[in-house]
């Protein structure tokens, strides 16, 4: 089976205030289809950059990135949004829900980019919220939900279109331990039960234990990686 994410000789430099900051110099990295990988490392090590590159939110300066069978470095900027909508679901640390919409409307947002009709979109969004255990909170707005519930809505939004890949940037960063555990359990369930390929960025060692594989980065270089022994409780 081909890898879900394949990065070859990828380099990325940012320019901030006239200063060049090389985050990744030459990275080779793979995530197998169906895998659940946690990217770890200190701040500035390039974790989020890898996530953004894999999700087509940014272009590398050099190298090749193939995700879900598409070389996204070859895709024009105008084609990337459509590609993202079809293949990637994002989960962010700050949840990034649209505050003026209800939980259900937030989950229905990416479904607008599919050919589904309104009834099917509604059905699919309700199902996604049911999967994350928020059937009772569909009509609530983000402000009326707890942090954990907001992140669950964000996960429901990420899986609503049934993407190949879920990319989560510090999904437990703003949550307390118990809530963080339940969110990670949910992601693990999505990986084990539905077979979603998941790549998360985290500082949280306990959260990373829920993944199958941990990859440690430092200054844009993979310094260590290991497979977790088994599913953590």
């Amino acid at each position: 089976m081909s890898p879900m994410i394949e990065m070859r000789s990828v380099a990325k430099t940012y320019f901030r205030g006239g200063q060049a900051l090389t985050v990744i110099e030459s990275l080779d990295f793979e995530v197998e289809t169906g895998d659940f990988v946690a990217l770890m490392g200190p701040s500035g090590s390039g974790k989020s950059t890898i996530l953004n590159l894999a999700g087509g939110l940014d272009y590398p300066d050099r190298g090749r990135i193939v995700v879900a069978g598409s070389d996204i470095t070859e895709l024009p900027a105008s084609a990337l949004p459509n590609w993202r909508a079809r293949h990637v679901g994002f989960v962010f640390q700050a949840f990034n829900l649209v505050p003026v919409l209800t939980a259900l409307e937030n989950v229905m947002l990416p479904l607008l980019l599919t050919p589904l009709g309104r009834k099917e979109r509604l059905k699919q969004a309700e199902f996604a919220l049911e999967v994350v255990g928020l059937s009772e909170r569909m009509s609530h707005r983000p402000k009326q939900l707890s942090g954990g519930q907001e992140q669950r809505v964000a996960i429901a939004r990420a899986i609503a279109t049934d993407p190949d890949l879920i990319l989560a940037d510090e999904p437990t960063g703003d949550l307390d331990r118990d809530t963080a555990n339940s969110v990670m359990d949910l992601l693990r369930r999505l990986n084990v039960e539905i077979g979603k390929t998941i790549l998360i960025v985290t500082h949280d060692h306990v959260a990373a234990e829920k993944a199958h594989r941990q990859v440690h980065l430092d200054k844009g270089v993979l310094v260590q990686e290991h497979r977790n022994a088994g599913p953590a409780a």
């Binding site: 940014d58 990034n96 919409l101 599919t114």
Partner: protein
């Protein structure tokens, strides 16, 4: 496939009620002013465009303010092609106080309503007659009573006058020697059919004033302001004009005969560049509010950068984000503009009362409303495009980092 989450537009409008309310109010005021000011200009011009082609006006070649001799009338009527002629004498009185000023004219009642049969309609006669009988009844009543007058519907609404009422006017040009007011008995009410006839005018018998002047009971111009006449079918108005003016080339007053349209145009030109000035102010008001809306939408765009980042991350293309921004801007401008235009229509009557003396027949034309609505749409698009372009330039990662 990229459908637009239109609900976001609605939610954002409701989520910022104060901002929405103030912006709509600004657009409302601007478009209301625009429609009112442009309507003043179109009202002034309408008097020219709706003037009858077969009607001529004879005035002094020196100035409109110089009278013509009374004995010119039979000579004018004798010119081939002249069907009927009436004196038209500006009375210049007011009712009770100066602010109650409106137009009054002394006319030859025997021919005046024939002259203007296509321009005004008698809607109520002396005994409540309506329809075609009303005019005959009014003509008979005018013939029977030297103090008779006919008033416009606008005066009935403004002062509550009706048929049978005696109206007291204080003369400014024509003044009785005993300083008493002039009395006129209302015998009929007319409705203008065209914009060249004012809806706030009182028509009285010229000979009634003439009697006072000739009897030494009142002071005022002894002559006639202008003569108005109809050209018979088949006659060339230019030849009639020449026929009249050539008679009086050696005085005592040289005449200048023009078509009614040219007369109205000359009257409008006495306002100088006022119509253009008013039109420019209307345009400037709309232009100023455009900057307000652009500023509002730029702020909204900045506040919405984070949300734009979310939508971009989810896969919405820049086109959808632009549509949302422009739609929100259009909703604000069209709602405010639409309300302003509606208010301009709704306030027509009040404006007619307020401006009637200066701009008779003030009215908002549908094309003014359409023009205003078009302006509102253009403003909405311009105000929406600017933040949409800025949002489109933002990379998703930068947009997500921005403060929501």
């Amino acid at each position: 496939m990229s459908r637009t989450p239109w609900r976001l537009v609605w939610e954002h409008l409701w989520a910022h009620k104060v901002r929405t309310g103030l912006t709509v109010a600004a657009m409302l005021v601007a478009l209301f002013l625009f429609c009112c000011l442009v309507s003043i200009v179109t009202t002034v011009n309408a008097a020219v465009t709706s003037a009858a082609g077969n009607r001529l006006v004879v005035q002094s070649a020196v100035s409109l303010f110089v009278d013509l001799p009374r004995d010119y009338q039979p000579k004018i009527e004798a010119v081939p092609g002249v069907v009927r002629a009436s004196k038209l004498q500006w009375f210049g009185g007011y009712y009770q106080e100066l602010s109650n000023f409106f137009a009054q004219f002394g006319v030859d009642h025997q021919v005046f309503f024939d002259l203007y049969s296509r321009d005004l309609e008698i809607v109520e006669g002396p005994d409540g007659e309506t329809g075609p009988e009303a005019r005959a009844a009014v003509e008979a009543a005018m013939a029977a009573d030297r103090r008779a007058c006919v008033i416009a519907e606008g005066l009935r609404s403004r002062f509550g006058w009706g048929v049978g009422r005696t109206v007291h006017l204080i003369g400014t040009i024509f003044q009785k020697n005993d300083k008493s007011s002039w009395e006129f008995n209302v015998v009929g009410i007319y409705r203008p059919l065209k914009s060249n006839v004012d809806n706030l005018t009182l028509w009285m018998r010229y000979d009634y004033i003439q009697e006072f002047l000739d009897g030494g009971l009142a002071t005022g111009p002894m002559g006639v302001g202008v003569y108005v006449l109809n050209v018979a079918e088949g006659y060339d108005p230019a030849a009639v004009v020449e026929g009249i003016d050539s008679q009086f080339r050696n005085g005592p007053q040289v005449t200048m005969t023009t078509t009614e349209a040219a007369f109205q145009a000359a009257f409008v030109s006495m306002l100088g560049n006022l119509p253009m000035f008013i039109g420019t102010i209307g345009g400037a008001v709309v232009f100023a509010v455009m900057f307000t809306l652009v500023n509002t939408m730029l702020m909204a765009g900045r506040q919405r950068a984070h949300e734009g980042g979310i939508l971009k991350a989810l896969g919405f293309p820049n086109g959808v984000l632009s549509r949302l921004m422009v739609s929100e801007s259009l909703a604000l401008s069209l709602l405010g503009g639409g309300l302003g235009i509606a208010l301009a229509f709704a306030s027509q009557h009040s404006m007619q009362v307020m401006l009637g003396s200066y701009f008779p027949n003030y009215h908002v034309e549908p094309r003014t409303a359409a023009y205003g609505f078009g302006m509102a749409a253009i403003i909405g698009i311009i105000a929406g495009v600017t933040p949409a372009l800025l949002q489109a330039r933002l990379r998703p990662t930068d947009a997500l980092r921005s403060e929501g």
